[in-house]
């Protein structure tokens, strides 16, 4: 009689096919969590349906495209500090005090912005990219290095991690931004890979 390993027999006897099914489901979810698209890949629903396509999209010949604003026009702190920062409501109102939108949906969304500005409260944007608490990421040094290496303006380096935001109606996370993702790039540019560079 061939020798049967008890490690296989015990769950089979105990749970029969059901045990295997539970195991299979568990393996599926674990594999999905590890290899699948990251959480938040659908992108959160924002309090105001802000279209990056209209603001940052490339302008077309017939005037239908976007405004072609560079990323740093609104995300002003990206070259100065750790956080890229979302602009203040006042900054939106520089234009939107006059610009009211052409379509009905746009007008409704811009009205939300104007109401917020009247109350004097910030807009509670939902975060799309979030790193764990034990990771310290600084935007300015990454933007400066990439723009120097590739010989492009700082605004053109954003797509390295954030994808083609100017074509996204709803912004979604395009890279996993797990540690392997960071380290791959750090190795490629011979940037330091010491733990205490990011974890402290």
């Amino acid at each position: 009689m061939p020798r049967v390993r008890p490690s296989i027999v015990v769950p089979l006897v105990l749970f029969g096919g059901g045990g295997l099914a539970v195991l299979g489901v568990a393996v599926f979810f674990l594999a999905n969590a590890w290899f699948g698209v990251p959480v938040g890949a659908q992108g959160p629903v924002q309090p105001i349906a802000f279209p990056h396509t209209v603001h940052a999209g490339a302008p077309a010949e017939d005037g239908t495209g976007g405004l072609g604003l560079s990323c740093t026009f609104c995300h002003r702190n990206v070259e100065q500090g750790a956080a890229a920062t979302v602009p203040a409501v006042e900054q939106c109102m520089f234009c939107h005090a006059a610009v009211g939108g052409t379509t009905e949906t746009a007008q409704a969304e811009i009205q939300k912005l104007r109401d917020t500005a009247k109350v004097g409260e910030p807009i509670l944007w939902k975060r799309v990219y979030r790193l764990p608490d034990h990771v310290q990421f600084v935007h300015d040094v990454h933007v400066r290095l990439l723009s120097q290496q590739q010989g492009v303006t700082p605004s053109e380096t954003c797509s390295t991690c954030h994808g083609q935001v100017e074509t996204m109606i709803k912004v979604t996370q395009v890279r996993s931004l797990k540690m392997g993702d960071c380290v791959d790039c750090h190795r490629q540019y011979t940037a330091p890979t010491d733990c205490a560079i990011c974890h402290y």
Binding site: Q80, V138, D140, D194
Partner: protein, 251 residues
């Protein structure tokens, strides 16, 4: 490619002759590094977290009693006893002379704490809590350590990193605080110390850290438990005591 980093060796000098035991460094450290508030019960259990502490000793008999103060922080040993005992490589030595604690690797075995002769490693026995009024006081540059994780003084590595980034942006070198020509660098305890007891700097860069370079070679120099061979990166300067009798040790 990224320009290679400067070869650093961060070092502390503690001049015991200047220390008045005021505990300003302790408070500054608690605030800077998101250290939870220690209760009396935690002190009694020996579970209080203090990355820097002032040890107080009484010397002599009444009425000639003298108080001696000894600030003790992580010695960032060059030959650290805490490192080889970690089973998950959560504490290791980097090329800046820092003994790094990687919180996300730590599994909380506490071997490092048991092997540290200076008692400057602290275990989070509880989830950290702060009163509501201090919620906005937390430093965003420092990880809030959760329950089950070992922690210790980092030489304020977040300030080192910030100074390096400021230096890269402005083109000025990192150096001692006080000059317009350089990006000033001080850990929180050094900044808070009213008597200038604590001096911090890069031993490999005497040009920009002249005070440290001078004091490190001082004749009053000693290091804590030097006989253990841990090669600490904290140098202490002996108290000047004119009334003290000349004692010959080990004679």
């Amino acid at each position: 490619m990224v320009t290679p980093r400067r070869d650093r060796k961060w070092q502390f000098v503690v001049d015991m002759d200047r220390c008045s035991g005021c505990q300003a460094c302790v408070v500054a450290c608690q605030a800077e590094n998101n250290i939870p508030i220690n209760s009396e019960a935690q002190f009694n259990q020996h579970r209080a977290v203090e990355w820097i502490r002032i040890e107080r000793y009484w010397e002599g008999e009444f009425p000639n009693v003298k108080a001696r103060f000894l600030p003790v922080l992580c010695q960032q040993c060059g030959n650290a006893p805490c490192e080889p005992v970690c089973p998950v490589y959560a504490t290791y030595h980097n090329n800046e002379g820092l003994n790094v604690q990687v919180y996300n690797r730590c599994v909380g075995t506490r071997y490092c704490q048991n092997n540290c002769p200076y008692h400057i490693r602290f275990f989070n026995f509880w989830e950290p809590v702060w009163p509501e009024s201090l919620r906005n006081q937390l430093n965003p540059d420092v990880t809030v350590r959760s329950r089950g994780i070992m922690e210790k003084c980092t030489f304020c590595v977040q300030r080192i990193r910030r100074a390096e980034l400021d230096a890269a942006r402005t083109g000025k070198p990192v150096g001692e605080r006080g000059s317009e020509q350089e990006v000033g660098l001080q850990p929180a305890c050094v900044q808070a110390c009213p008597t200038g007891t604590l001096v911090f700097g890069d031993l490999n860069d005497p040009e920009h850290f002249p005070t440290l370079a001078k004091l490190v070679k001082h004749e009053r120099r000693f290091r804590l438990l030097e006989s253990l061979g841990t090669e600490p990166n904290v140098v202490y300067l002996k108290k000047v005591d004119l009334e003290a009798k000349e004692e010959v040790h080990g004679a």
